[in-house]
Amino acid sequence: MNSPIPAVALSDGAGQRVGRPQVVDTSVHKQIDSEACPAEQPVDGASPNAAPGTGSRRIIAFLCRECAYAAADGAGNARLSLPPTIRTVMVPCTGRVAPLHIVSALASGADGVYVAGCLEGQCHYRVGNLHAQDRVALVRRLLGAVGVEPERVAMFTMSAADFPRFAATARRMDETIAKLPRLARAPHQTRS
């Protein structure tokens, strides 16, 4: 379950500078699984390690390396308080995030997923954030069609310097997810 890329400890408030981790590529799914359902914290039942008042709630944030991740970094440096439920997965660009990544995160234990990228028109890969926006919209509609709350999935944009916005969106997402009922999951079926 060792994730090759260390996730930023957003909630420790230590504010230490986190070095730029290596680019996520083939290991996105592995990371999703380890963040959504770490071995030491089973999804079902509150774990002893969970922060008080959060139950076993877990939100996965896909952060683009250029903007949102830098904003998360800044939020850490500024010692802003962030919900302990947020788990981050860094991606080179939000355009890397496929509908399958988002739905997998929900299926493997996350209660909410959000994608955070650069401001519109400022994607460092030209249109990655626009693709991500449409994919998030698609996933929301898919979830709606099968009776799952579309609010579980969201997309935000922010500039690299806008760490207050990162903290605010993280809190807003946490509040949204806290109001929703638990997401029931069928047992894992073997993927082929």
Binding site: D134, L142, G147
Partner: protein, 149 residues
């Protein structure tokens, strides 16, 4: 979409009760293999008569019936785990999501030119010669068009 002058010429030689264009005018019948289609849309832009139309709605039930190993099948397998009920509605596909679009073939507009077959990268469109009669074409000696039976 209007036909070229030559296309009109050929179409005018068909039965008078046919309204201009019909499948296999140029001698091919277009067969599609949906399981190979990756919805890239190349046939849509290649088709000169607008017989290939991109469909902007998607039926989520397709995810659950798609074979495992495909992109849709993989997503379906995961979505099934969190679904509260079977898909109830079709959904509108956002503009930039290609893979969930499907291409609809409108046979009435097809002239059987085979442009889609050449454009298709996965071999999902196939042209099969139809049983045809030969018609002498004006202006070009020794060339014939095969006209659908």
């Amino acid at each position: 979409m209007p036909l070229s002058a030559r296309g009109m010429e050929i179409a005018s030689m068909l039965d008078s009760d046919t309204s201009g264009v019909r499948p296999g005018v140029l001698g091919c019948e277009i067969l599609r293999h949906d399981e190979l289609c990756v919805s890239c849309g190349r046939c849509v832009s290649a088709c000169p008569t607008g017989a290939m139309v991109e469909e902007g709605r998607f039926d989520p039930a397709r995810l659950f019936s798609a074979p495992a190993g495909t992109e849709l099948g993989a997503l379906g397998a995961v979505l099934r785990r969190i679904a509260r009920h079977p898909p109830s509605t079709t959904i509108e596909v956002p503009e930039r999501v290609r893979a969930f679009r499907s291409v609809v073939f409108v046979a009435e507009r097809c002239v059987g030119c085979g442009a889609c077959v050449r454009a298709c990268p996965t071999g999902a469109v196939e042209a099969r010669p139809v049983n045809v009669a030969r018609v002498e074409l004006p202006g070009r000696s020794r060339r014939t068009a095969r006209v659908g039976s």
